[in-house]
């Protein structure tokens, strides 16, 4: 893995989106920006993948969306976490934590 790889780890994009939206309703660019800022630029989200993932999550019933005004008076599509989405986020977080700590243990054992 090269140092400048900013791809989101495979299979974690959904969890990152759900986590980001769980704080407050947000539009697509806002989500991308938040993921980038919070990860300190480690992850960058490509808009095509992000918008596709948002559609998928909405159809899965984990997000709802509506067009609203942004703070700088533009119209944007805002995504809100649903009750089912909250549950899904908990599941994914638990799964991720379990796997990440397992990897960490393995790496420690190697070292």
């Amino acid at each position: 893995m090269s140092a400048d790889n900013t791809d989101v780890i495979q299979g974690t994009l959904d969890m990152l989106i759900l986590q980001t939206v769980s704080l407050e309703p947000m539009h697509g660019f806002g989500i991308a920006r938040r993921v980038e800022q919070v990860s300190r630029g480690v992850f960058k989200v490509n808009p095509g993948s992000l918008l596709t993932a948002l559609q998928r999550l909405e159809r899965a019933g984990w997000l709802d969306s509506e067009w609203r005004q942004t703070e700088n008076a533009r119209r944007a599509r805002f995504y809100t976490l649903t009750r089912a989405g909250k549950k899904q986020l908990e599941t994914e977080k638990a799964g991720w934590t379990r796997r990440a700590s397992a990897i960490a243990r393995l790496l420690r054992a190697e070292g």
């Binding site: 539009h27 697509g28 660019f29 806002g30 991308a32 920006r33 960058k44 490509n46 808009p47 095509g48 993948s49 918008l51 596709t52 559609q55 998928r56 909405e58 159809r59 899965a60 019933g61 942004t70 700088n72 533009r74 119209r75 944007a76 599509r77 089912a84």
Partner: protein, 874 residues
């Protein structure tokens, strides 16, 4: 929940395609604007901000495309647009489309129609409750292997009392009867059934009630139709009295119209549970039974076998070698129709095969035409599937169109089939198109489409672009394989058509044999009246015989009538009897096969009226009365069977028809075919009406006329009703009766001929198509030959020779296939061998002629090729 959202979101975006696209575009647009706005907030100029955003996030259009293709509905709509493209392609080639759709419609229509009949008659369950567990009882003689769908009264009763496998078992008997109402008589089908009959069929009357055993000979059930026709309604019929054979029966209940077992019965007379016939050699009953729930047919049969063995031990004289066999009612009812229907199904299958080959051929020609297009697409990097997909889609479209047209075609064909069906075809009234049939049609349509397009599609996928682009079919440079494949298809087609034509030829030849076969009696100018005179007692019966004898004299005096006689047991007629007989003074009897014969009861003058030659002795006369010595006339084959070469006149004969008196043989008459022209002439024993009055009240009156027989109908009817207005009458002619006795043979021959005609037409189209295509392809080459001085005759000969060669190959293959298939029809042939040389030659000539005729037009066109134009083409 999520599935529901998937569905609704997908459908919404499918329905409002543009709105969805705009939505996605708006969101992407807004995303990039936000990104730019953020950068401008950091102090970049709008132009710099946009450029920076694009450098980081890529092109907005690419993001839009990526987001837009999400969702299952996009696959669907891609398929729709491919189908739209295929449809446009088809409309651009109307000749190809029309030919393929019509060909498929013929093949699928024929199959749908035949399958409708097969499904309704053979496959659909009978319309009785839990009909699968209803069985009939047959008697089987283990030494001869003969099986009869009848049982004797005591055997049936013993089985019913000793077995445990059945929920109910019923004995019944019956046939056509005159039913006497208060003021007139009607002729209908009545059955005598016991109390258990209603239990076997789970019958529920729509009015009144069922009868109980104590009401035997006093109660009856009638059908809804009978009640409506004669009493005005079901309720009105209950409590009315009808008479059958002299017994007064109270109608206690009315059964729904849907029920007409056995044999379209309208009246069910109560018969006692304990059978009246006590003889174990008189097969007077039929039996039906309902299996107890959970009992398997094999288990029940094992139990019945045990009981059969016990009976054989208890009554060795009568029951030796006799075994009772169970058979599902559905098989018993439809068994006779099975071979005919399966034959028709097989021929319909051949038609479909020919249609399929034709469409394959059309597709192949089309795929050759677009070979260059396919090569270009492959050269540009299309995958195998992408090249095959348009071909497959087109043929599925064609199959759908052809299937729809086929179903439309099937409606009138089914109506014609039902109208043509022989009266013996069981369940004819139940024949209709239904969901199963439509599913079957859809199935064969798709299977046909795939079969017909697979070969061309695979060839298309295999095309090597470099090779294909080099070839130029219009210059006569084409690949060898394609022509060989087309030839093989034509041969296959000719083979199938030849088999059909051969089958039709065999059945037509049989039909011709039957039509010209001598029945042993005259059939033209014969008026026949079914006369059923009610008789309630022995005195009544004698009175009826006297009345009939006077009537014959009156009728003979009518202008236009030559001879008149009465008979019970008229050939092809509805009454009749048969059974064993014994003789004295002839050949020793065969201990294993008791001699049997048809029994007929006739009036004096019967042989003269029917034109049956009296070879020895004399006819019955007015002097043979009930009190004079009993006499009989025997047929030639009975004489041969039991008396060998000796003169039977004066010998003694006895049968169990109604008395065991010994009769003196007074004459020998010529043989007749009793039931149909397909049957061999058999032994018949004739007895005078005066000596067997019990069998003389249900007779056929036969009149030999000088004029068209039916013109005398009114006069004859007036005369008969003047003598006894209670006689139930039905008129027909001998020709009609004999004709009707051949209806199964005619039905088969007519249908197979129609199929063969359709097959020939399709094969002709196939040959024409191939020849026309190859001539068109070779225009350049032919032009070149003509330019070098080739004779036009030689060119025509070349085209015709090619067609003849293909047809000969097809005929040869068809002969091999025919040899195998002829066994299917062997049992349906009369005086015709399965490889009848006349039929084989006729079918071969027909096919050759058809192929040459089909090739002639393209051949002639080839001779018209102008070298100047041909060589300058392109």
């Amino acid at each position: 929940m999520s599935f529901w959202r998937q569905l609704t979101f997908g459908l919404r975006s499918l329905a409002r395609r543009k709105a969805r696209d705009r939505d996605v575009a708006d969101e992407v647009e807004q995303y990039f604007q936000n990104a730019a706005a953020e950068r401008m907030a950091r102090g970049l100029t709008p132009e710099e901000a946009r450029r920076a955003a694009r450098a980081e996030m890529g092109d907005a259009a690419a993001a839009r495309d990526q987001a837009r293709v999400y969702g299952w509905e996009n696959t669907v709509s891609a398929l729709f647009s491919d189908l739209r493209f295929a449809a446009r392609q088809l409309t651009r080639h109307p000749a190809f489309t029309a030919a393929a759709v019509l060909t498929l419609a013929l093949g699928i229509g024929a199959n749908t129609a035949i399958f409708t009949v097969v499904e309704s008659v053979l496959l659909a369950p009978l319309p009785y409750r839990d009909s699968g567990s209803i069985l009939v009882l047959n008697t089987r003689w283990t030494d001869s292997g003969h099986t009869a769908p009848r049982v004797t009264g005591p055997d049936g009763a013993d089985l019913r009392n000793q077995s445990h496998s059945f929920a109910a078992m019923s004995l019944y008997s019956g046939g056509n009867e005159g039913v006497e109402l208060r003021n007139h008589s009607v002729y209908t089908i009545a059955a005598g059934v016991d109390e258990n009959f209603a239990r076997v069929f789970s019958l529920k009357p729509i009015a009144g009630r069922l009868f109980v055993d104590g009401e035997a000979h006093h109660a009856a059930l009638v059908s809804e139709m009978f009640a409506r026709d004669n009493f005005g309604g079901a309720q009105a019929a209950v409590g009315q009295t009808i008479h059958i054979e002299g017994e007064a029966l109270a109608i206690v209940g009315v059964l729904p119209d849907a029920f007409d077992f056995p044999n379209h019965a309208q009246v069910w007379e109560a018969a006692p549970l304990s059978p009246e016939s006590k003889s174990r050699t008189a097969f007077n009953y039929k039996a039906v039974a309902r299996l107890r729930t959970g009992v398997a047919l094999a288990t029940a049969q094992a139990e019945v076998n045990g009981i059969s063995r016990r009976l054989a031990n208890a009554y060795p004289a009568e029951n030796h070698g006799k075994r009772l066999m169970l058979e599902p009612l559905q098989e018993a009812i439809t068994g006779n129709a099975r071979p005919t229907l399966l034959l028709l199904w097989a021929t319909a299958g051949l038609i479909l095969l020919i249609a399929c080959v034709n469409v394959t051929h059309l597709e192949l020609v089309r795929s050759l035409e677009r070979q260059r297009e396919i090569a270009i697409r492959k050269a540009l990097g299309s995958s195998r599937w992408q090249v095959m997909q348009p071909v497959l889609l087109e043929s599925i479209l064609i199959a759908m169109l052809g299937g729809a047209a086929g179903v439309l075609l099937a409606f009138p064909v089914i109506r014609v089939l039902v109208a043509m069906a022989p009266p013996g075809l069981p369940r004819a009234s139940e024949i209709h198109l239904n969901v199963q049939v439509l599913a079957f049609t859809l199935g064969i349509a798709i299977a046909t489409a795939l079969a017909a397009s697979l070969l061309p599609a695979l060839r298309a996928a295999k095309v090597d672009p470099a090779e294909a682009l080099k070839h130029n079919t219009a210059r006569g440079i084409s690949r060898q394989g394609a022509a060989a494949l087309r030839d093989a298809l034509v041969i296959a087609e000719v083979t199938a058509a030849f088999v059909l034509a051969l089958g039709a030829g065999l059945l037509l030849h049989t039909m011709g044999n039957l039509m010209t076969r001598s029945m042993g009696y005259e059939t033209t100018r014969m008026l026949v009246a079914d006369a059923d005179a009610p008789a309630h007692s022995a005195e009544d019966e004698s009175r009826v015989v006297r009345q009939f004898n006077e009537l014959f004299i009156d009728l003979a005096a009518l202008p236009g009538v030559e001879h008149v006689a009465g008979i019970m047991g008229l050939p092809t007629g509805s009454y009749g009897s048969n059974g064993y007989y014994q003789i004295r003074g002839g050949l020793p009897p065969d201990p294993r096969h008791a001699a049997s014969a048809n029994f007929s009861v006739s009036s004096p003058g019967y042989f003269q009226t029917m034109g049956i030659p009296l070879q020895r002795g004399r006819d019955f006369s007015a002097e043979d009365t009930f009190t004079s010595p009993f006499v009989a006339v025997i047929s030639e084959s009975l004489a041969r069977q039991s008396f060998g070469g000796a003169d039977p006149v004066g010998k003694q004969i006895q049968c169990g028809l109604d008395s065991d008196q010994w009769m003196t043989v007074i004459g020998v008459a010529g043989d007749v075919r009793q039931n149909s022209p397909a049957e061999a002439p058999g032994p018949t024993l004739y007895m005078p009406m005066t000596q067997h009055p019990f069998y003389a009240n249900q007779i056929h009156i036969v009149l030999r006329t000088r004029v068209a027989p039916l013109t005398l109908m009114n006069a004859v009817q007036r005369n008969i009703l003047a003598v006894n207005p209670l006689i139930a009458l039905h008129f027909t002619t001998m020709d009609t009766m004999v004709n009707r006795s051949m209806s199964s043979e005619r039905f088969r021959a007519a249908l197979l001929s129609c199929f063969a005609a359709v097959g020939l037409l399709l094969a002709m189209l196939g040959v024409y198509g191939t020849m026309a295509y190859s001539v068109a392809q070779r225009t350049f080459e032919i032009g070149l030959r003509v330019a070098f001085g080739a004779h036009r005759g030689a060119i025509l000969r070349g085209v015709l020779g090619h067609a003849a060669k293909l047809a000969c190959c097809g005929v040869a293959a068809g002969l091999l296939l025919g040899l195998a298939a002829a066994r299917l029809v062997a049992s349906m042939l009369v005086d015709v061998r399965p490889m009848d040389p006349i039929s084989v030659a006729a079918a071969a000539c027909l096919l050759l002629f058809t192929a040459l005729a089909a090739a002639f037009v393209p051949g002639w066109r080839a001779t018209r090729v102008d070298p100047m134009i041909a060589l300058r083409m392109e």
